[in-house]
């Protein structure tokens, strides 16, 4: 009985478009959430205890992960089209690039000079692996 009820509910929600709306709104909220997390994490790295004294980054990240899982599920129901994404706006690209550059520079500050290319190479390798996984999933 419960399976049938859920199936009917699912069909009804899909039919009236509520799932699509919820998924789109959640998508936006989760994106902003992860961007905020990245900023807060960077701030915490820069000024240890400044953020965690006021806000638990662990709880925040757990919430984001749960919402991301929920988003994935809603996306499956609503047949999400991630592949539709266009090219990034140049301004957004510049901001992201600057953030990435600052983070890498700060992360390597005061490290022995010869370790810097190794760590940057490491970041690049990880980024390449993620990119490959993303491409394969598409």
């Amino acid at each position: 009985m419960p399976t049938n009820t859920f199936k009917k509910l699912d069909e009804r929600l899909q039919a009236d478009g509520h799932i699509a709306i919820a998924a789109n709104l959640l998508y936006e909220a989760v994106l902003i959430g992860w961007a905020s997390f990245a900023l807060l994490y960077a701030l915490e790295t820069l000024l240890p205890t400044f953020v965690i004294a006021r806000l638990s980054l662990v709880k925040f990240s757990v919430c984001l992960i749960l919402f991301t899982i929920l988003l994935g599920w809603l996306g499956q129901l609503g047949e999400a089209k991630i592949a539709q994404t266009k090219k990034m706006h140049p301004l957004l690209l510049a901001v992201l690039g600057l953030f990435l550059l600052s983070t890498v520079m700060l992360a390597n500050y005061r490290f022995p000079w010869w370790t810097i290319p190794i760590s940057i190479g490491g970041y690049g390798l990880v980024a390449w692996f993620f990119f490959k996984i993303f491409q394969e999933n598409r």
């Binding site: 699509a20 709306i21 789109n24 709104l25 998508y27 936006e28 006021r54 047949e79 266009k86």
Partner: protein, 385 residues
């Protein structure tokens, strides 16, 4: 901004846009709330009577008005519980929350009084101090001694001698006279209460045998000390002391600290848990020529705020809130909270104090200034004092 994550039929587009605007408004308020919390935080200090020795307890020394420890949370009818806490900041409001044990009786109301001062300045008054501690003092070349019986006890350095006595207090003697006495290895150090620097640290001399490092420059200033009073010490100077626990906010000033009551102009010396007035005369002149007394306010009714804690929305919990502005201008970082007037015996589980930071530009500026200093220190660019 971006195509919808999940395709939407055209009929739902207007509803989606409305909800999207609502979402952004909600996120804007959430973000603003977060920034507000960062700039004007609520500082919570608490004491868990089930774990009185926990390092998380930022409320110190729960005691009765007679000074006996009250760490079990039990408060009899008409009894008094006094605690101290020292949050850093400029606060406008305090909310006091008392969580009772499940088997505790519930009082109709409890009276809570709060005052702000230096802890040591709230010590009971003691007998007055009139003159230098008596001693038979000699100077042989560049070394100072105290004659005790037939033996000579040396001062560890001239600076240590001058922290205690005037140069004129020492009689001049020669090496032949010195040879007639036994010179002990038991050195006399700085006057108790002196501030001595060595390497990167500042130490306060807390007894004849112990010194304690001061936690940070911020704590040093919060305690009312003056950097001009710090005596540069050598390794030999500080070598005679045992290094004690780090001095943090919440601890009372050690013996030897000099306070000045701003309203009456009276000077006080802290000694053995008492606040002893120093009589006008050469000793007072000597002390205030050596150190800047810490300015304080004598405890008075005008500098006390109070509230009556009654049952809150939560079960077995009492709460009240009080405006801290009348005590805000008081000297000292230490809040003393007195809880009394219960009409039944109560058993407290946890006492919590929530200090709300005053919403003004000065506090925001202070925060930014601290952030800048921390940021510079993080990259080794902090200005040297």
């Amino acid at each position: 901004m971006h195509p919808p994550f999940v395709p939407l039929p055209k009929t739902l587009q207007p509803l989606y846009q409305k909800l999207r605007i609502t979402l952004w408004i909600v996120l804007f308020f959430l973000g603003s709330g977060l920034v507000y919390t960062f700039l004007f935080p609520i500082i919570r200090t608490s004491f868990d009577f089930q774990n009185p020795n926990s390092s998380k307890n930022l409320i110190f020394d729960p005691r009765s008005d007679m000074g006996t420890l009250r760490q079990n949370g039990k408060l009899e009818t008409g009894g008094k519980l006094i605690v101290n806490t020292s949050p850093v900041g400029d606060f406008s409001r305090l909310t006091i929350n008392i969580d009772l044990e499940n088997d505790s009786e519930s009082p109709a109301e409890i009276y809570i009084a709060i005052r702000k001062n230096y802890r040591a300045f709230l010590f009971p008054a003691g007998p007055s101090v009139d003159s230098f501690p008596p001693a038979d003092l000699y100077r042989v070349e560049n070394t100072y001694y105290q004659l005790i019986g037939e033996s000579l006890r040396p001062f560890v350095s001239p600076a240590a001698f001058h922290s205690r006595y005037l140069e004129s207090a020492a009689k001049t003697a020669d090496a032949a006279w010195q040879n007639q006495h036994l010179v002990t290895n038991d050195f006399i150090g700085f006057r108790v209460g002196s501030l001595v620097s060595f390497a990167d640290g500042i130490f306060v001399i807390t007894s004849e045998t112990e010194m304690r490092p001061i936690g940070s420059a911020e704590i040093f200033l919060e305690l009312g000390y003056n950097f001009r009073d710090v005596i540069p010490g050598s390794e030999e100077d500080i070598g005679i002391y045992k290094r004690g626990r780090i001095l943090l906010l919440g601890a009372p000033h050690p013996d030897g600290t000099i306070f000045k009551d701003e309203s009456s102009g009276t000077y006080f010396l802290i000694a053995s848990g008492e606040r002893r007035p120093i009589s006008a005369g050469p000793y007072l002149d000597f002390l205030i020529s050596r150190i800047h007394p810490i300015t304080a306010d004598a405890p008075n009714e005008k500098r006390t705020v109070s509230c009556g804690a009654t049952a809150s929305l939560l079960p077995r919990s009492l709460e009240c809130s009080v405006d801290l502005r009348p005590v805000g201008a008081s000297f000292g970082p230490d809040y003393e909270v007195s809880i009394e007037g219960s009409d039944v015996n109560i058993d407290i589980n946890t006492l919590s104090l929530d200090f709300e930071t005053r919403l003004d530009a000065a506090n925001a500026q202070t925060l930014f200034s601290k952030l800048k200093a921390r940021l510079l220190a993080r990259f080794g660019l902090a200005p040297t004092p």
